[in-house]
Amino acid sequence: MTGLTFQATVEARRFDLALEVPEGTTLAVLGPNGAGKSTLLELVAGLLRPDSGAADWQGTAFFGPDGWLPPHRRGVALLAQEALLFPHLSVLENVAFGPRSAGDSRAASRATAQRWLDEVEAGDLAAKRPSELSGGQAQRVAIARALAADPALLLLDEPLAALDIAVTPTLRRMLRRVLAGRTAIIVTHEVLDALTLADRVVVLGHGGVVEQGDTREVLERPRHPFTAELAGLNLLLGRAVVGGLDTPVGTVAAATGLAVGTRAGAALRPSAITVHASEPRARAGVDVMRIEVRDLEPRGDAIRVRTDDLFADITPAQAAALDLVPGSAAWFAFATEDVSVYAL
């Protein structure tokens, strides 16, 4: 196949992973800290040597039994959380660094640099020093610098994580524009980054790949509790019964269309759940479950009520009225139309 095929182990970091990135697609790698996301990028970029494994890009071996290609011959640009602009060079010289290293003349590389600076709407920063830039501006320049090197493969390591929240939407949109049609791997813990930027997603747990597939498919219909948590969804796992899904917390009434006995999952947004201190009146199309509350977690303007199986987001006013404490039982209700049931 064309694109990147990758398999490597790094014993010191307990890293063992295999994946593929078809040419022209963007792969998002989601996972908790320590799952090996950054190690993956270092291996692909050539900043780290694996203990074993092989990686191949369009027929060129990055590493493998036949040898090891140094980073500057790989055509792989790495964009990190921090911009890491060379402090002794101007913005324009920073962006011209890649073309200049590739052997372009000073004039040609500067022209290329100016073009990419304009592309990321930072053309007016060309003469500035990196120390004069804001975080968002620096990251824009870093993106221009990475793209000006004309990389075949672009690696992004949480490119928006260190930025002020006010500038991330614009930068995310810009990244979507420049990543279109490119082969890229983006490491992130932001589901929004994955949904905006990636065609496919790989979810890593501490033991390796938890699940992978089409971004929307994976994130809207998670098959693994860990993925559901990342995507901010409740996931109830169970088996299809007549008229619904049998789960550990009760039967979710839904028109599943699944054969009885099929293993299935039910995904549910936490904001679609209402919490009641006493049993609400039964209504058609509404599922009600009585579950013990484990803890309450303030999250900005909402309170997340957690149980062992479900979590629901309610307002502080509702939380105060309900007077919930860990250990007390509450009734969780949701409309069946808000539940998405799918076979696993």
Binding site: A45, H72, R74, H88, S101, A149
Partner: protein
Amino acid sequence: MTNTSAVPRWIVAIAAIGAVFVLLPLVAMTTRVDWSQFVALISSPASRDALALSLRTSLAATALCIVLGVPMSLVLARTSFPGARVVRALVLLPLVLPPVIGGIALLAAYGRMGLLGRTFEVLGIQIAFSTTAVVLAQAFVALPFLVLSLEGALRIAGTRYEAVAATLGASPSTVLWRVTMPLVLPAVLSGAVLSFARALGEFGATLTFAGSLQGVTRTLPLEIYLQRETDPDAAVALALVLVVVSLLVVGLTLRTSAITRRSIL
């Protein structure tokens, strides 16, 4: 500068005693200078020869330190090889070795009967007791200053910028010239200034390995030592000249290290 963290007064008192300990001898020396004869004393042919030779050889030794020391620092800071710690310790040895021993060692290597000296002899080159020997002796004792300060700077600078440069397609040599060296340039400068200062003050190794021949190997410290026997006034006057030159060097080092700190922050 404002002092935000309080230092106990007794610490300040001891520090003051330390400062007096360093400054008192220098002040005392200036009181011994015969100012009416000062210019005449420092401008005698022997003095001028010694000063010129000192500056010339110290500059040459500094250049040698840069040429050899920068690659040594890079290898020590950026690579790992078996025995690296031993190599680092040996390279830094001249820092703690009595310079006379350095001179004896240099003689053993490059002297007429030395390890390489015999080879040079065949080629018609004699190193010991020449101006070249002065430069070698100075470089031998000054090299660790440059290696030590540059290796530290390289480690502080880290490899992140170098990694970025490599992924942008820069070969290791390009990374060195366009990223690594510009980033540690202030450390190279301050290391070179320190090496120059050490070379300028070099005495023991020079005397042992190069001798004391006016205009050829008799540098300013040697001249001062010699004059002390015959003309103490001239020795004090020349000593003051060396103090002033050293002060300039120290001032320069502080300035460059301030620049280093600024560029890191």
